[in-house]
Every structure is written in C-alpha cells, then in structure tokens.
C-alpha cells in the first residue's frame, strides 16, 4: 500500500490528486450550494458577456453560466462514473470469461472482443446511443458498453500473462479449481493495472459524455451537464465566447484530473520504469606508457552504475596475439560488463574508466577508432535470437560493416558475405544470405554472427556467453568453429562464460571474476585441480561432472554474492569463505602476480604445492 501512497509524494501525483479531490468535492457540494443561483431566470440579463456580476456571462434565459457550470459538475461526474462502472464490470467479465469457461466458448468470447475492440469507442457509443435512444440513460449505457471491449481486451491480456506463470500451473496441478485460481492468483496480480486503467477511462468517459451531450444525444433539457452547456454556448461563440469556453475548460480540467491521477498511479505502482539519475562526468586518469605487443591491454578498468556503485572494480588483463582467455563468474560478477566496456559498447548512464585501454596499440579512450574496431574486433553476443535486426536480410546486416569500413562495392561485399557464410559452414550460403534472421535456427544465427565478425580481419573475438542460449550439441559445434577460426588466422579470443567446463575446454588462460574484480588468473589446464583461490576451488567443485562422486554431497557456497551497492571494505568473498578471518573482512587483497605468471587476490590462497599434490 505504501506504493499507492507514494503517488502523493511526486509533484504531478500530488497536483492530480488535489485536482481530483476538488472536482469530486465540487460534484457533491455545488448543487447543494448554488442550485438556486444557477436556475434563477433573469429576463433583463439575457445573453450577456463576462461581467463582475456574471463571471461567465448568461444564457438565453439570463441564467448565470458560471454557477450553471459549477452545478453541472455533479451530473457530468456522476454519469461518467456510472458509465465507467458499466465498462469495468462488463469488460472484466468478458475479459476473465475465457479463463473460466472451456476453450471453445472462450474462443468465441475472445473473437467477439477482438472484433468489437477494433472499432473506436466513439463510434460504438454513437451506434449504441441510437439503439438506446437519445437521452442521459441511453448515453450512460452507450458509453459504458462502448468502453467495455477495450477493458475486456486489457483484462484478457493481463490474465493471459499471469495464467502462463508457473505458480498458476502449480496451483492447478495441486487441484485448485479454475474459479479459485482466478480469485486467489490472477485477479490480485492484475488489480493494479486494472485500477489505473479504470481511473484513466473514467476521464475518457467524462470526455465522451461531454461529446454526446454536445451533439445533443446525451443529457436533455431541462437537465444540463457540461457537454450540453458547451453545445448551447457554441452557437453564440462570436457574441459570448465565455458561454462555450467556461464549460469547455471545466471538461478539460476534470478530464485531466482523472487522466493525470491515473498516469501518476501507473508510475507509482511501477507500470512504467523510471530512469536512473544522471552522473557527474568523472575525469579520466590515463596511462600512456609505451604500447606492448599485446592485442589487448587493459589496466584498472571500472564501470560505474548510475547509483554511483561500481559493477566492475579495477580489472586488469592482457591478451597476447592468438591467445584465448576465458572469463568465468556467476551472474552479477561483472564479466559481461567488462567485455562490453572493453569493446566500447557501454553507454550512458553507465560510465567506463580505465588507466589504460589499448587495442592493437591504439588508445581506445583517446579517439573513436571506428575503423580499427569495425574491422579488427569481432563481437559474438549471447542471444542469437535478438542480436540480429529482425527487419533486415542477413546479407545486408553482414555487409554493412564491410561496406562502411572496407569501402567495398555492393557486389564485392555480397561476394564476401557468401564467402564468410561458407567459412562458418552455413549450407547454401547464396540462398541463406537472402533470408531474414527468423528463418535461421539458433545455431545458424550464432554462426552468422561469427561470420559477421569475420567480414573484416579480426585480431580479437570477444564472445559473451556465445553458447548459453544453445543446445549442448549445437554448443559443441559453435565452440569447434571458434577454435578453427583461431587456429587458421591466429585470432585472439576473449570468452565470457558462466560455464567452467566450456571455458576450460576452449581457453589457454582463465580469469575468475567475483563481485566486479578478478580474483584469480590461471592456466585453463589448472582450473579443474590446480586453482588456489577458495572461490575458484568452490566454483569448480560445485559443478557436477561425469566424474563426480555420486556418494558425496556437492560442494556448496553458502550465502550470495554482494550487489555492487554493498561491497565491503575487505575481500568480498570473505562472508562466504571458510578460510576467512578478521584480516580478510578488513582489508581487500590485491591481485598479485607470481613468478609463473599466475595472479591471485587472496590472503589465504591454497599453497601451490598442495594444489599440485591434490592433482
């Protein structure tokens, strides 16, 4: 409930709430207080303009229009709420019905709603107004029923979204009936958007009612609402504009009150996501010492979140030509962000800084280096389903980089595309190139993505979980392909993965990341038995393999990785580490290189000899 109350804390929400309360109060009080003034006929003051005596002028019978507008609030709001109630009740019933009744009857209900929802509410309301007859009662029914299909559609969509959830399936599998499932699990989970939309549609009903009354189809004399007053006033807009403007303004204010309050509610209950706040730009500290022969050289890379917390905290790494380096870690360890930051693909509001970020000797922080990155750095992303533009053919997506950076002609680029598709073993590349991504299977898309990286002459491939979304047998083929490409062209690889087995099979060297930092850097061959950091060792032991002893329980790591917002001063793994002591909790261990080129950040590393003994 606190979320609902938080509406009042935003300026827009508070204003809208105030406005709404004002309108509702006026609806209750105005007829009691000012009916007499509003109905007083004064034949001496017919059709007057604005004056001190009559703020909004007078009508044909000399009645004061200002008071008439105030008094009309009651009828206008009342009728709008009544129509909304009809819309909500009928819409909710129609919308929930398919979930309750069998699939055949449900399909007819859905089809009916689908056909009616295609027509604008106003048109339905006009049609229904003819049937129900001219007048307030007919108009309420017309607007209410005309609003029902939209509400039914919304309910259907929301119900369908919740019904797919596993907890509904679990409840059904537990023998809970459809009606109880609807009441207990579905309705409470869709109540918020429904309430928000009902509020907004109350505003819509108010405006629609004004429209019908304005056309002469709604409220009939001697009763009057805002629409009626507006219609009566429009004829004399040249003589007494206030007669048309005053009720018009009233309608707009009341409509806005409902609308804005609804929107503010929507924001408060999280139907729309707020954006992070902007950060002050941090100065860059760079190190421009002489370049090495490494393909990639990264020193003290940090990525800062909008909250100010650091998701990547000082990562340093080097990749030699042709070398394959893996980065493993659990979700939230910062491994993917590290990869994206290196590739210069992290955008505001996140901020990237590094003391040194050199790719093939070029300082990526100094200049854009579009051409260098476009031809020499290949990226492979996790989800091949979403990584291609769905509206463009494969060929054009592969070709555009080469055409931009390599200056290839259309034909040359096309020939290259077909050649590259063949290189990643896609059968019938001429035909495949003309297809759209959705016509490719997951494995083929990942091949095409790799082919895209090979359009240039890459020195480094950064692959972020390239096989996670794929089946194991396909995964195998993709890893094989990457290995062949590396061998053929001496291409370096930075492979990001949560899968220890994949990384140790493909890479020469492995970096283990935890809570935004590299905690160990070791040869891939040592990962299984020679790791020295307690986290690495636990991570390896926690994964069952085909050799695990089935009699022993799997190693587990108690607790969970800290979020970037609450990393401690000491070693972030300390709270979960069996070896941790007071020193670990107080001071963060640095990542220190040993003579054999391995690096480790731990106060109590397993001794190298012990690690060897175990193997």
């Amino acid at each position: 409930m606190s979320r609902w109350r938080s509406v009042l804390r935003t300026p827009v929400g508070a204003c809208a709430a105030l406005l709404l309360v004002g309108v509702l109060a006026l609806a209750v009080l105005a007829p009691i207080l000012w009916s007499a003034q509003a109905d007083r006929v004064d034949t001496d003051a017919i059709r007057q303009g604005m004056s001190a005596e009559h703020w909004a002028g007078t009508d044909d019978l000399g009645r004061d229009l200002f008071f008439r507008v105030l008094v009309a609030t009651r009828l206008s709001v009342e009728l709008a709420l009544l129509a909304t109630l009809i819309a909500v009740v009928v819409g909710l019933t129609l919308g929930a019905l398919p979930a309750l009744v069998g699939s055949r009857l449900g399909r007819y209900v859905v089809a009916f709603v689908n056909i009616t929802v295609a027509f604008p509410g106003l048109l339905l309301a006009l049609f229904l107004a003819v049937i129900f007859g001219v007048g307030a009662r007919g108009a309420v029914l017309a607007i209410g029923l005309a609003g029902a299909p939209a509400f039914a559609r919304l309910t259907q969509t929301l119900v369908a979204g919740v019904i797919e959830r596993d907890y509904v399936a679990a409840a059904r599998a537990a023998g809970i009936g459809r009606f109880r499932v609807l009441l207990r699990h579905v309705l409470p989970n869709i109540a918020e958007p429904l309430i928000v939309n009902a509020t907004i549609s109350a505003g819509g009903a108010l405006l629609a009612f004004a429209g019908l009354s304005f056309l002469g189809l709604g409220v009939q004399a001697p009763q009057y609402d805002w629409g009626r007053l507006l219609g009566d006033g429009l004829a004399g807009i040249y003589v007494t504009p206030a007669a048309a403007l005053a009720p018009g303004i009233a309608v707009v204010i009341a409509g806005l009150a409902f609308n804005l309050f609804g929107e503010a509610l929507a924001k408060a209950v999280g139907l729309t996501t707020p954006l992070g706040r902007a950060l002050p730009r941090l100065p860059r500290r760079t190190d421009s010492s002489a370049p090495s022969d490494a393909v990639l050289e990264v020193r003290e890379l940090t990525v800062t979140l909008p909250s100010g917390a650091r998701a990547v905290r000082g990562v340093s790494l080097q990749i030699a030509p042709g070398e394959a380096v893996g980065v493993v870690g659990e979700s939230g360890s910062g491994k993917s962000l590290t990869a994206l930051a290196i590739a210069q693909l992290v955008e505001e509001p996140l901020q990237v800084r590094a003391e040194r970020l050199h790719f093939q000797g070029a300082d990526l922080q100094a200049q854009a280096h579009r051409k260098l990155l476009g031809t020499s750095l290949a990226m492979v992303f996790q989800d091949p389903m979403t990584a291609f533009n769905p509206t463009q053919r494969i060929a054009s997506q592969l070709a555009e980089g080469a055409r931009e950076h390599g200056g290839l002609s259309r034909q040359a680029a096309r020939a290259r595309v077909i050649d590259r598709l063949r290189a990643v073993r896609i059968h019938d590349p001429e035909r495949r190139a003309r297809q759209y991504p959705h016509e490719f299977s997951g494995g083929m898309r990942q091949r095409a993505m790799i082919g895209m990286g090979l359009m240039g002459t890459p020195a480094l491939i950064i692959a972020d979980e390239p096989t996670t979304a794929l089946d194991v047998t396909v995964q195998q083929q993709i890893l094989q392909l990457l290995a062949e490409i590396r061998a053929a062209d001496h291409v370096a690889l930075l492979l990001i993965s949560h899968d220890v087995t994949v990384v140790s099979a493909v890479c020469d060297r492995v970096l283990v990341m935890y809570a935004g930092r590299v905690v160990e850097d070791l040869p891939a061959a040592e990962l299984a038995r020679g790791a020295r950091h307690p986290y690495t060792r636990a991570l390896v032991a926690a994964v069952p393999t085909m050799e695990s002893d089935r009699q022993l329980p799997l190693t587990v790591i108690p607790g969970r990785m800290p979020d970037p917002d609450d990393v401690s001063a000491g070693c972030s793994f300390a709270p979960r580490c069996a070896l941790a002591d007071a020193h670990c909790a107080a001071e963060q261990p640095e990542l220190i290189a040993s003579a054999d080129g391995r690096r480790i950040a731990c106060w109590h590393p397993a001794p190298a000899s012990l690690a060897l003994q175990e193997s």
Binding site: Y167, A169, A171, A173, A174, V472, Q476
Partner: protein, 234 residues
C-alpha cells in the same frame, strides 16, 4: 508408481511427444535428458494432468492421472514459480489437505526446515528470497501436497552454479529420507547422472534410450546419446 503408457501429444500438426512409454518406479529418481524442443516439458505437464495426451494414458498406480492426483510439478523459473502476492507460508499451504490452522502452520514450518530454510521465512514474500531459496520453497510446496511422485522440470537450469549444488544435494537428501519418487528432467547429463538411478534420453519427442544410469551413460547404444556424451568431454 507413475507410468506413461504409449503417450502421444500433438499440438495441431506438430507432434510434441511421440508414443512415449516410461515408468517412474516407487522410491526411484528417473532422469529424463533432452534438448529444448525435445518434448520433455510437455511430457512433464502431461504427468500432472495439465496437458491431456492425444492418445495413450498416464497412470498413477492403476488410475489415470488428473489435476487432483497426488503428483506435483516443480518448474524451471524461480521467478515465476511463486505468486508474488502470497507469503511463502501461504504458497506452501495451498496444496495441503484440509486441516486446522495450527496444524497447517506446523506443517509449513516442518516443510521449510526440510528444505533447509528458516521457518520464520513463512511470513516473507518471494521478492525477499534468492533464486535458490525460491526453488527450495517450490519443492516444499510440492511436498505439501503429499505427492506420490514429484516431477522436477529443469529446476536447476536457471540457477547459478554455486546455488545449483544446494538444490541437487537437497533432492538427494529428500530421496534418501523420504524415499521420494521423482521424474527429474534436465538438459544437463552430469546433473542427471548425479541424482538419478535411471536415465531416459528424449530426442524429437521420442525416448531413444532408457535404462539404469551407469549402463546408459557408460555404454550408450543410441547415436544421439553418444553425441550428448561426447559434447561433455571436449
């Protein structure tokens, strides 16, 4: 004993499950391996009566399985498995047989302890739990229905590796303590090998190989099983 007897399930013209016969004997964990789209999740849903077979039948003992049969399903996604509006305790209590309020509360506490969670968490909402904890609550909820068989559909594949182990250990403990019968579905052979006594391999809607775990994994007969095994040992 849960028995799939020549079960075929079609969606329109697509055959999701093709003439599958499979038995989950009392007190055993049968592992079912297959890739996405192989039909294993459809089979799981048929096992609890959420999907009706197009032909063939699913039997618990000698009676066909329906929605009220004592078979429970545990799902893959820990974030969609629990109703966010209900407390942990309410979720667990839902499938319980009728009983007094105090009895139900005591049973919820017992089940939470059984899955290694603090009973005081009964008052918490799913949002306050981690993925691994949620999966353990989902297991507790399944146990609350006093099922004869539990079907676990990829229950560890959405979890991080450090958490996956706790759930697998729990499955093994529960099996040892309660003599649980379970159909354990996973795409990961090593995970299946760790918990299951029997292994069935599913491919394109069919069971292509089935037998005691050491035999199937040690001496695979079907090409597809060999391919799966080969992909593990790069």
């Amino acid at each position: 004993m849960l028995r799939f007897d020549q079960v075929t399930i079609r969606y329109g013209s697509r055959i999701a499950v093709d003439n599958v016969s499979l038995t989950v004997p009392d007190g055993e964990i049968v592992g079912l391996v297959g890739e996405s789209g192989s039909g294993k999740s459809t089979l799981a849903r048929a096992g609890v009566g959420l999907v009706a077979p197009t032909s063939g039948q699913v039997l618990l003992g000698d009676r066909p399985v329906g929605l009220r049969s004592p078979v429970q399903l545990v799902f893959q996604d820990p974030y969609s498995a629990l109703d966010p509006r209900m407390t942990i305790g309410q979720s667990i209590a839902e499938p319980m047989p009728r009983a007094s309020r105090a009895d139900r509360r005591a049973e919820v506490s017992r089940l939470l302890e059984l899955v290694d969670l603090d009973p005081s968490r009964a008052m918490q909402y799913p949002a306050q739990l981690s993925g691994g904890q949620r999966q353990r609550v989902a297991l507790a909820r399944a146990l609350a229905g006093q099922p004869e068989v539990i079907i676990a559909d990829e229950i560890t594949s959405a979890l991080d590796v450090s958490v996956q182990g706790t759930v697998l250990n729990l499955i093994r403990d529960l099996q040892a303590q309660l003599g649980l019968s379970m159909l354990f579905i996973s795409h990961n052979l090593a995970v299946v090998r760790y918990v299951a006594t029997q292994v069935a391999v599913m491919h394109h809607g069919r069971i292509v190989e089935h037998g005691p775990a050491p035999e199937v994994l040690g001496n695979p007969q079907h090409d597809y099983t060999r391919e799966l095994l080969a992909s593990l040992t790069t």
